[in-house]
Symmetry: D2
Subunit: 349 residues, 4 copies
Amino acid sequence: MIKIGIVGAAGYSGLELIKLLLNHPEAEIYNLFGNNSVGNRIEEIHPSLRGMISKEILSFDEKLLADLDLLFVALPSGQAIPYVKSAYENGAKVIDLGGDFRLNDPNDYNKYYKHEHTAPDLANIAVYGLSEWNELEISKAAIVANPGCYPTSILLPLIPLLKENLMDRDFISIVSYSGTSGAGKSLSENMIFSEVNESVRAYKVGNHQHTPEIKRYLSMFGCSEPTFSFVPHLLPISRGIYTTIHAKVNDNVNEILCMEIFNKYYKHAPFVRIIYPQIPEIKNVTYTNYCDIGFSIDNGIITIISTIDNLIKGAAGQAVQNMNIMFGIDQTEGILKCSKKKYLKVQSV
Amino acid sequence: MIKIGIVGAAGYSGLELIKLLLNHPEAEIYNLFGNNSVGNRIEEIHPSLRGMISKEILSFDEKLLADLDLLFVALPSGQAIPYVKSAYENGAKVIDLGGDFRLNDPNDYNKYYKHEHTAPDLANIAVYGLSEWNELEISKAAIVANPGCYPTSILLPLIPLLKENLMDRDFISIVSYSGTSGAGKSLSENMIFSEVNESVRAYKVGNHQHTPEIKRYLSMFGCSEPTFSFVPHLLPISRGIYTTIHAKVNDNVNEILCMEIFNKYYKHAPFVRIIYPQIPEIKNVTYTNYCDIGFSIDNGIITIISTIDNLIKGAAGQAVQNMNIMFGIDQTEGILKCSKKKYLKVQSV
Amino acid sequence: MIKIGIVGAAGYSGLELIKLLLNHPEAEIYNLFGNNSVGNRIEEIHPSLRGMISKEILSFDEKLLADLDLLFVALPSGQAIPYVKSAYENGAKVIDLGGDFRLNDPNDYNKYYKHEHTAPDLANIAVYGLSEWNELEISKAAIVANPGCYPTSILLPLIPLLKENLMDRDFISIVSYSGTSGAGKSLSENMIFSEVNESVRAYKVGNHQHTPEIKRYLSMFGCSEPTFSFVPHLLPISRGIYTTIHAKVNDNVNEILCMEIFNKYYKHAPFVRIIYPQIPEIKNVTYTNYCDIGFSIDNGIITIISTIDNLIKGAAGQAVQNMNIMFGIDQTEGILKCSKKKYLKVQSV
Amino acid sequence: MIKIGIVGAAGYSGLELIKLLLNHPEAEIYNLFGNNSVGNRIEEIHPSLRGMISKEILSFDEKLLADLDLLFVALPSGQAIPYVKSAYENGAKVIDLGGDFRLNDPNDYNKYYKHEHTAPDLANIAVYGLSEWNELEISKAAIVANPGCYPTSILLPLIPLLKENLMDRDFISIVSYSGTSGAGKSLSENMIFSEVNESVRAYKVGNHQHTPEIKRYLSMFGCSEPTFSFVPHLLPISRGIYTTIHAKVNDNVNEILCMEIFNKYYKHAPFVRIIYPQIPEIKNVTYTNYCDIGFSIDNGIITIISTIDNLIKGAAGQAVQNMNIMFGIDQTEGILKCSKKKYLKVQSV
């Protein structure tokens, strides 16, 4: 059994982590840590958990790390550093679901996250947890920086096509829509129901913190840096991200070739479904760890569409997938229910 | 392994059944039967299932029943009879998720379901699958009539208090609100998004088909027949039922006594959570098999509130719970993820 | 032209007031007052108003009252008293949309609103603005206490039937569901979109501040006090209240008699529509000042259903209706668009 | 008074037309025509209208045209031709809210609307009703083809910038999201609430019927034809369109220049609000005839965002605006409520 601690269990990603781990045959939730929630029981914070788990939320204590094999940190970006540092120094593996270890240029933290980074050395050690593209590194990592929700929905469809030079790097349009749980439980007037419902708004146009993350990892995974514009929008739904990408394709690129490239990279990926010629829908992936990808070429322009559940493949699900990789377990364990021993991969050219 | 067939896999309850059974260690989905959907693969009908199951939907054939231990029938009310009959005659156990075997007075079918009942003898044999109140009968049943979603949310909180004479039988007010999936995939103008969204409406006031079901089973489970009015409403959400009940309580009845009565009957019930003095919320039970019950007494009137997921505890979840009972398996198997071998029952007086 | 000031223009009711008054041929919005919003322009606070009105929000100043014929106060309950007092002392008429002048027993403020009432003498002078039942008093009032949203939806259907002794006073069940705008813009974790969406919850069971308001005015408008239980619920929609009432009817009461009674009182009421035998739906009244009422009798129990837009008939619309009454204008002016000079009243027995 | 007939009053655009015209001082709704709804009263079809209008829906009869000054046709595309033809031949002006008179190449009807066009001569006579760009032609028109909802939200922001050569014509990305009322009341399984709610899907990728409309009118209004990709998506809200456009800007183009260009064309346009540097939100335009436009330039790429209410500026509101232009009335009459005689235009560089 993997003995697990969670910092930030009171949030939405924390809740999803707990639900996944309760269903995982090799995981044991050992300690829950918090700040404001210390002294409460987790089933009081998340009444949906009543009857499934009963545990007091503790104040973080370095000594308790000795009992743990793995610490998940599910805090708002900017708060994870001391916990990750402590775990690292005490020999526990860590998966950070926030943004504090995804970038390596400290200036980017100042610019996009609006705070200094106090442990740039650890940010350099951390391994980016995009499971499908970094499996080997993740398997050896001490610190995993779990990807952001938007980047997961963008990198998975973009990397194969850019890496294989199918698209014009000159100008790529990325338009993403996200449900509200991506903003966590933070209080602000523009997140109350009456303000969000029956509306849509773009936000952080030109300066979202996921922009440098997308840029860095496109480059790291073999795509010479393209010029792109990324615009996130807020949707009046609770869960799910929908990303629509436009780019010019190079001559002689057609849909069959795209399908071949996607198959080359994702044929054996249990959580990426290339559903061409169907069109992805958010409801087909919510409450799952899947990323569904569709595409279409018309008039020299490719439209690529992808969708994930921001709390699962975009957070807790990919984190458990990474845990499985780090501990040498089948990466679908505790995440995918399927009818055969081995998961089905149904796509074909 | 229990070999299972499903009639009506293309509907919402069918989809939930498949998801639950894929996660059940002792269940094997063997055959899927349909009418309009015959020849399609189930993962085309429900794209969310891609990668988890791949199976063609067959035309129902009595001969295939020989391979099956259990047939689930998840059809709109009025369509189940031939399938249930065929299974019964061929020795396969059956759980019908529709309304065709819940009532025993043929006139009630004419009045509430607007059709003749063609197998009243089988309706008399069928056992009502309210798991918490009929476990012994279910364990021996050949045909289980799975309860309606509204009645499940109403009978679970009402039976203990009425049975123990805490409430005035003279007049009980029952107001229920349901998400749209309760109406299935049937096409009608008043179910399109633009008509349902940002609105609420009561419907079938005074003549909903669940009224005789509630009446019959209150009586069967020990409550001499009360006079009640039941008004169902349509909510602009996908899943969940919220039931608010008002009644006068008898003298000397207080909240502590109510808690004791609920504990008497539900202390060991894994899927009923008495959450007094908290107030139930739909979101705490969606995607689970729980029924959450709260209550409050003020000025001689009790307010009882219960909530379930209409597709799980109100349909597929209770059906799998009943399957477990019929096959001698722990009733939580495949349904409840929890942190201990045995589920937790946290309520106490 | 009626010269108008508004305190609390930054809130939801304030916004609706402004929209209604911009469309009113005899109203002129003269001054907008605020606290936190002072110095901002109203079209910055409510960007939907850009192009329609451009006005700076001022700090309240008693001297400016001399310019005004009428002051609307649209603040959270507990904050209106100094403004109402100041207007009263300076000879401007006032309509308070909050709860500070609806009750006359100071203990009720302590118990339900959780604060002392500092001007009980004014609370005694204030006239309750239930337009359909208090027109004469309103026409002469210096201070109008505009009704609460729930009480409006409850009193309008209940008063006629109770006043005429059609119902058993012994026990009346009142179940109301409200959209989120009823809670204003106040920040609390349980009002953020992710918490409200796809859920329902009852709240303040047994102790909502509208309970004493309902009780007081049932009595004032001729109904000897009945015993009732009122349970409010929060709906995942922005606007609208849906109220379902159950009571036993007295012998010989039938639906035709109810219709006659409703016609007796509401035949000439421009904003009450008795839609028997249809069933009210929230979407038919949102963005209007209508209260739609339906009913049905079955088995000796009457089900009465009413619906309003909480921000219009439940707040700003009824306030403008009251303004019309106070200033001797046709009460539909600026509120009702209709095809004839006189509004249509279509119901008949 | 302008005597008005409406064909298709039972639909969503028809309902909005009626509401706007009831509030219009110079309009009189004279006849309502229908097919399936003939013999019903309009207030039975749209219960929200009860008390405001009471009129029977008639079978269309050419003879009744003599009484009319103007016929609105609000039918699904493909059904308007006989009505428009009949009105044209009988001397009544016509505004068609559907797509039957927007294109002039009959092949486009075959390709995008899937039917033959039976009156190509009339399609050539029809004037495109994009009020802000075609006022002179509209004022003289016999037949106005009211613009599609998506094209309205796309042409208004794009024309000024393309006309003035600010953007690279080589590749423009257009991503639009629409509420469900854009699909009318048509019945299909994928429009029921349970399928649309909590989800998003792109549709008609590469072959939406608004693509040739956008292309034709960009060219007609002075933009040499750009290469663009337009992807519409379905949103789980009732009303509103949100369009996000990406393009490379030419050298030396900055935000101040864009603002100047927008002001050049829209300074006096009562229904276009350039809200830079704010970001448009759907909720600021729903139930209004406004188009809100925002923009931002970053890294050589411009992001342009626009939003409208698809039923108002995208249908009935723009239709009434066109009626005003056709009959020499101030174009805001009956549509815009504002605090001064003349509407406010608040934007400035």
